[in-house]
Amino acid sequence: MGELIIKNGFVFDPLQEIKGDRMDIGIKDGRIVETSALSSPKTIDAAGMAVMAGGVDVHSHVVGPKVNVGRLFRPEDKLFKSPLKRCDRMEMGFSVPSTFKTGYDYARMGYVFVNEAAMPPLHSPHVHEEIRDTPIIDNAAMPVFGNNWFTLEYLKNNEIENNAAYTAWLLRATRGFAIKVVNPGGTEAWGWGLNCESIHDPVPYFDITPAKIITGLIETNEFLGLPHSMHLHCNNLGNPGNYVDALDSFKLAEGYTAKNTFGRDQVLHMTHVQFSSYGGDSWRNIDSQTKEIMDYVNAHDNITIDIGQVTLDETTTMTADGPFEHHLRSLNNLKWANTDVELETAAGIVPYIYSPNVKVSTIQWAIGLELALYSNDLMRTFITTDHPNAGPFIRYPRVIKWLMSRAARDETMKTFKWLDRTIESTTIDSIDRELTLYEIAQMTRAGPAKALGISNIYGGLAPGMDANVAIYALNPEDMPSDPDMIENAFSRCAYLVKDGIVTVRDGEVVAEPAKRTVWVDVKVPENAQVQRDIYEHFLRHYSVGVENYQLFEANLHNPRVIEVDSTQ
C-alpha cells in the first residue's frame, strides 16, 4: 500500500489534545505514521481545511432485522426520495437507507466506524449479511441482553460469574461487540403486552426489577473488562415526566468504576438521552429537564451519553423497546410492525413525522441541543440522532450546524408554529453557546472511540492508529458567516482517507476499501453450569438448534477481533 501525506491542515485530535494546530499527517500501509517515516508520499493539500480522524458513531440502527423491516414496509420512503445512482450500487431510501446508501453516505460525511445499536442475537446471521453489504464503513453490533431469559435468571440469583460466562458465549456466538440493554425487563413484559414503567417495576414471572438488571449488567461488564461499557436505553422512554427515570437509572451506576485495558472511563453509556429528559405529566405540559440531567452527568465521570437529536424530518422509529412502539402507534395511528424474539428481545417499528408545526416535536428538538450545550465535557457527550429514530444520520451535519451556530438555531426556530410554547417549555432560547470544531471532533470521533474502548484504533490521528482521516473544507481561522456552509462541509467532506486509501474526494465516493466487522472475543473459564443452561434452553425453548444459532465462520465478513482475557 502507498504512502500519503496530508499537508498544512488544521488538525483537531482531541485524543492527543491537538486543537487546530497546523500539522502534516503521514500515512503508510494503512496506518498513521510520523511524517519522517515516509519516503515518497502522494500529497493531499489540506491548507485552510480542518483535519480530523474518521468519524465514529456510537449508536445508530443501520443493519439487522428491524432496520430491514423499516425498509421493507415503507416503499413511500423511497418514492421520489432516492438519489440517482452515483456509485457502484443504487442508493435507495431516505429515513431508512439501503445498506449501500448507508455506507456511501457515512463515508461522504467522513465517518469510518458505525456501531449498530441493537442486534437481536437470534438474528445475528442477518446482521452480518447486511454488514457485508454495507460498503466502506467498519461495523460493530451490540447484542441485546436486558430482556434475555438467561440474563434475567442469572441476575435474579446474583450469579454475576455465570452471567459473565453466558455473555462471553453470546458475544462469540453472534460475533457481537458489547452489552446493549433496551428497556430492561419492559421488553420481556411486552411478551404479554405489558411494560416495566420504572426501574422498580418487576418483570412478570421473572420477578426481577429493571434496576437489578442494570446493576447486574454493569457488574457483568466490568467483571469481563469489555472494551465498551454497558449501553443503556432507559425504561419509560419517550414519556412526559421520564427524566426522573433517567436520573434513577444514572444513579444505579454510582459506586462503579471502569475496569478495562481499553482506556474507557465510563461504566454506563446512556443512549439518546433526549428521549429521557422530559418533564411534565402529559403531552400538554411536557417540558425540558435537561438542566437536571446534565447537572448530574457533568458531576459524574463514570457516565457517557449521546443526545439522540430530533432533526424535524419524516422518519421511521425502530427500537427493541416493543411497548414504546406500540404506544407510539396509538398516538399517530400509522402502520406498526413488531417482532418479539424468543427468549431475547422484541422490536417495534412505526413511521413518525417530527414537524416544526408540532409543539412536542419542537420541544424535543430543543432538548437534544440543550443536552450538548449544557455539557461540560464533550468527550462524554456524543452526537447521534439515534438513527433513524429521531432523524436520519445524514442530518448529523445539520446537528453540528445547530450546535456551532446560535444564528442557525434561531433560523430554524423561526419556522416553529409553537415558538412561544417551545421557548416557554425549554431553555434553548437562553443559550448562546456555540461549539467549536475541537468540541465537534470530541463529540463525533475522539469521545465515541474512547467510550467504545477502541481509541487505540479509531477516533484519533496518533502514529500507529488506522489511517482514517476526514478533511472538511472549513477554516477554523475563517469560519463561514453562513452557517449552512458548515452543514455543507460536514455533509460532503473534502476528503476521506480510509485505511490509507482516498475514499471520498469533494464529497464523492471514489474508492471502496474493504470494510471490517469488529467484534469482541472474551476468554472466560469453562463454566459447566452455563453450558448446561444453554443446552437446556435450546433443547426446550428455542426454535433453532444451538449449532445453527452460533454464527458460522463463513458468515462473518472480514473480521477484526478484539480479544479480552478475563480468566486472569
Binding site: 443493519v63 430491514n68 423491516v69 425498509r71 421493507l72 414496509f73 416503499p75 420512503d77 423511497k78 418514492l79 421520489f80 432516492s82 440517482l84 445512482k85 450500487r89 443504487m90 435507495m92 431510501g93 431508512v96 437507507p97 439501503s98 445498506t99 449501500f100 437470534l122 438474528h123 445475528s124 446471521p125 442477518h126 449479511e129 447486511e130 453489504d133 431469559w149 411478551g191 404479554w192 403486552g193 414471572y205 406500540h326 402507534r329 396509538s330 402502520k335 406498526w336 410492525a337 413488531n338 417482532t339 418479539d340 424474539v341 424468543e342 427468549l343 422484541a346 412505526v350 426446550r540 425453548h541 426454535s543 433453532v544 438448534g545 449449532e547 445453527n548 454464527l551 458460522f552 463463513a554
Partner: protein
C-alpha cells in the same frame, strides 16, 4: 462406515426444520437416510441425485437439447440480458441468500426486473404490510407463550407438515407446559381441512368473503352488533371466537393462501393485521404469514436491504429502483407483454404460473436455472443446472418468521456444477465485459436533455 450429519436444515417449506439428521455414504456421495423430516423433506434429499444434468443444455432448431459448456451458457445468458430491453429475472423460492444477492447485482447491471415467487404467493402480504404494518413474532414465542392459535386460510397439515408440532399447537414451551391441552385452536377455512380436524372451532367461511368476516370480528371486538350471518358464519360463532381471542394471554394468527389468492388479495391480510392491532389493545396478539418455500422469505430480506423493496423490483432505469406490484409483478408483466426475456431461477414458472402468462413469456428467450428438470426447463431455450441449496450448497435462508437459519450441505454438487451464487457472479463478469465492449465500440453519446421526473 456411513456418516451422520446433524442439525441439517430442510430445503422444502417455510418451517425450515433445522433438526434433520442425514446419513451419507462413506465417500460422501450418497444420501442413505433422512431422520426427523416430514415425507416431503425426506423426498427432497432422496431425490437429490436422480435426474441430474451436469452440463447446461441449449435448445436446438429441431427442438432437442444439446449439452454446452458453462462458459457458453454464461455467455448466452449475459447476451440475452444485455440485448433485451426489459428482461425479467424471476424465482428464488429455492436458493440461498448469497445467490439472491448475486442475482440482484446482475439485475442491476443488466437493467432487469427482479422478482421472486412471493409475486404469486405472499406478495399480497407485502402489500398489506406496506399499508398496515406487521405485528409479529418469532416462532419460538408462539411455542413458549401462545394459548390461542388461529389458522386462517392456511392448511399446515398439508403445506407445512411440521408447523403444528414444532411451533404452534403441540409443543410444550416455557409458559406452555401443557402443550396442546393448554391451547385453543381456531381454524377458519371454507374446507374442513386436515388442519381443521385438530381445531376446537372451525368456522367454514364462504370462499372469497374472508374480508367481510374479518370486518365482523373487528366490529364485535369494538362492541358493536353484526348481522346474524356473515360470510356463511353465524353471529354466535363469531362472538364466541372473538371472546376466546380477547381472553387469550398470547395469541397468533397464522394465515395462508386462502387470504392471498382470493378476491381482495392484500386487503384480506390488511384487515387481518388491523384485527391483530385491535386485539393488542386488550392482550397480546401477533400475526404471521405461512411462507411457502424454505427461503422465499430470503429475497424479501436481501432485496429490502439492498434496494428497500422486497419483490417486483424494476431496475431497468439502472440508477433508481421502482416497485409497484400490478405493474412490475411477473404475471402482470407477462400478461401485458411488457418484458422481452425471461430468466427462471430456483422455481418452476411454467408449472406455477397460469398457462397464459407462460405462453406469452415463451415468445421471448427463456432461460431456466435449476438443479433438476422441470416444466420450465422443458420449454426453455437454455437450462443451466446448479447445485441444490441445503443438500449440496450451504448458505443462509430466512424462515417464515424472518429468522435467518444457517444451512449446511450434506454432499458436494456433481463435479463442475456451480452454485447459484457462483453462476450469477460469472454472468455478472461477462455482462460487464459486454458493456465494456459496447462502450469501446461507440463513443459515449451526449445524454438527451430533459427533466428526469422522479422514477
Amino acid at each position: 462406515m456411513a456418516k451422520k450429519i446433524e442439525n441439517v436444515g430442510c430445503p422444502f417449506c417455510g418451517v425450515c426444520c433445522d433438526d434433520l439428521v442425514v446419513t451419507v455414504s462413506d465417500d460422501g456421495k450418497k444420501i442413505l437416510e433422512v431422520e426427523n423430516s416430514c415425507i416431503i423433506g425426506s423426498t427432497v434429499f432422496h431425490r437429490a441425485m436422480s435426474e441430474r444434468h451436469t452440463l447446461p443444455r441449449l435448445r436446438q432448431p429441431d427442438g432437442t437439447f444439446k449439452e454446452i459448456s458453462y462458459d457458453e451458457a454464461i455467455d448466452y445468458t449475459a447476451k440475452v440480458l444485455h440485448n433485451a430491453k426489459k428482461p425479467l429475472i424471476y424465482g428464488f423460492g429455492s436458493t440461498n441468500c448469497e445467490g439472491m444477492a448475486a442475482a440482484a447485482k446482475v439485475a442491476e447491471q443488466a437493467g432487469a426486473v427482479l422478482d421472486n415467487c412471493a409475486s404469486i404467493c405472499h406478495g399480497s402480504s407485502f402489500l398489506a404490510i406496506f399499508d398496515n404494518g406487521y405485528p409479529s413474532c418469532t416462532l419460538g414465542e408462539v411455542k413458549n407463550r401462545a394459548d390461542v392459535i388461529v389458522y386462517w386460510g392456511a392448511n399446515p397439515a398439508h403445506a407445512h407438515p411440521r408447523h403444528m408440532s414444532r411451533y404452534s399447537i403441540f409443543p410444550r414451551g416455557f409458559f406452555t407446559g401443557k402443550g396442546h391441552k393448554g391451547r385453543k385452536i381456531i381454524v377458519i377455512d371454507p374446507r374442513h381441512t386436515d388442519t381443521a380436524q385438530v381445531a376446537d372451532i372451525h368456522l367454514q367461511v364462504q370462499q372469497g368473503h374472508d374480508y367481510d368476516l374479518f370486518d365482523a370480528f373487528r366490529t364485535v371486538v369494538r362492541g358493536h352488533d353484526i348481522p346474524d350471518v356473515v360470510a356463511g358464519v353465524k353471529k354466535e360463532q363469531i362472538i364466541e371466537a372473538v371472546d376466546i381471542m380477547k381472553k387469550a394471554r398470547f395469541g397468533t394468527i397464522f394465515y395462508g393462501m386462502g387470504l392471498c389468492h382470493s378476491d381482495g388479495r392484500n386487503h384480506n391480510v390488511d384487515i387481518a393485521i388491523s384485527l391483530t392491532r385491535d386485539l393488542n389493545d386488550f392482550t397480546k396478539w401477533t400475526i404471521m404469514a405461512m411462507r411457502g418455500h424454505y427461503n422465499i422469505t430470503g429475497p424479501g430480506a436481501v432485496w429490502s436491504w439492498q434496494y428497500g423493496f422486497p419483490y417486483c423490483l424494476d431496475l431497468t432505469k439502472r440508477d433508481i429502483a421502482h416497485m409497484n406490484p400490478g405493474e412490475t409483478s411477473s404475471v402482470d408483466l407477462a400478461m401485458r407483454e411488457e418484458v422481452d426475456a425471461f430468466i427462471n431461477i430456483g422455481t418452476d414458472a411454467a408449472a406455477h404460473f397460469p398457462i397464459e402468462p407462460v405462453k406469452r413469456l415463451r415468445k421471448h428467450p427463456w432461460i431456466t436455472i435449476d438443479p433438476h428438470p422441470n416444466m420450465a426447463t422443458e420449454i426453455s431455450d437454455l437450462h443451466i443446472p446448479v447445485g441444490i441449496v441445503g443438500v449440496e450448497v450451504p448458505g443462509i435462508v430466512y424462515r417464515m418468521d424472518n429468522v435467518p437459519i444457517q444451512y449446511r450441505n450434506v454432499i458436494e454438487p456433481p463435479e463442475g456444477v456451480p452454485s447459484d451464487e457462483e453462476l450469477f457472479e460469472r454472468i455478472y463478469e461477462r455482462l460487464c465485459e459486454l458493456e465494456a465492449e459496447d462502450a469501446a465500440r461507440e463513443p459515449a453519446k451526449a445524454a438527451p436533455e430533459g427533466a428526469r421526473a422522479g422514477e
